[in-house]
Symmetry: C2
Subunit: 195 residues, 2 copies
């Protein structure tokens, strides 16, 4: 998606170590108008998928998932990362690993909000190793619901997550696919190349 790629080139940056930092418009400060345009694109791409629920994981997936659900006219559920005392009754849980934070965590969704008959679209801001999406996919399976696809804002296509999910048969659509982020020690900056 050209609008997004241009924005990443303009306002994103590659941090030392190869992290793509998009804190100024996607996952710390957010640009609501941009996110709304991305949501419209997910609505267009998955128009015929019969989506009746959008599922994401806190925190940075929530904004784009909510706008997408608003356009589908369906509820949005966000999986929680740890046991909170106000989670009631039975919950589905799956383990995931965050490379950003360097630790394992548990993803949890109350059973009441993910059910057989649900046609679930997974939405997230990033796809790299696919840990979060795999855990969400496991939750959908445990619930007996159907996953109709995954929409991610940015895929790091040089990592394995997307390929492995697609090999499982999941329809994965990324609005921007980063082919490489070469880090230059001399320039102390990275060059982002899209697929």
């Amino acid at each position: 998606m050209k609008l997004l790629e241009e924005r990443i080139l303009r306002d994103g940056r590659v941090a030392e170590g190869g992290t793509l930092v998009v804190n100024s418009f996607l996952n710390h400060q957010t640009d609501p108008a941009l996110l709304d345009a991305l949501a419209a694109e997910f609505r267009r791409i998955f128009a015929d998928a019969g989506v009746n629920k959008v599922l994401t994981v806190e925190s940075s997936g929530i904004g784009i998932a909510l706008l997408t659900a608003l356009r589908f006219g369906c509820p949005m559920v966000f999986a929680k990362k740890s046991a909170a005392s106000n989670l009631s009754g039975d919950a589905l849980t799956a383990e995931a690993f965050s490379y950003t934070h360097g630790r394992k965590y548990e993803l949890m969704v109350e059973k009441a909000y993910l059910k057989p008959g649900d046609r679930v679209l997974l939405i997230d801001d990033f796809l790299a190793n696919g840990n979060a999406l795999n855990a969400l996919l496991a939750l959908v399976g445990m619930a007996g619901a159907e996953c109709v696809g995954a929409g991610v804002v940015i895929e790091k296509a040089f990592q394995d997550g997307g390929r492995l999910l697609r090999e499982k048969g999941l329809r994965v659509e990324a609005l921007a696919r980063v082919a490489s982020m070469e880090w230059s020690e001399t320039e102390r900056a990275g060059r982002i190349v899209f697929c």
Copy 2:
């Protein structure tokens, strides 16, 4: 706001111990159309406040804050709860306490996204003891920005947070103000009364 009060009475419940559980439409599963109506109401209430930034805290404030920012046509920033390795450079931090999780945590906003000249509207899902809003207010102060008010979806008016913030001179607007939630041991349920 009548629409919200009716929804709380219909789909909310009081858990043992006096927690108001609105997981089915506000902070686990979310109803995007309801949240959009709440955002429109915040836009109406704060129409003349010159808002040019919306600030909230992850996770459950993000959805309503983003929709509100979309209507104001301004960025939305969410404060993060712990140091993540992809937070760059200088950050403003303030301490807060979560009664839900029973522990202290650090709220953090990168300096780049909160600046002198910003007219900041705080948005959150709940106001009880006011811990999160007080920490956000501190961050706005540290940045040399101006806080033009706080919009919360549900205020527990029987707790002190709202009163203390208003005594400080902050404009606090709640879309639903809960006066009491009487727990009946016999019925194993609570009765919600609005102000």
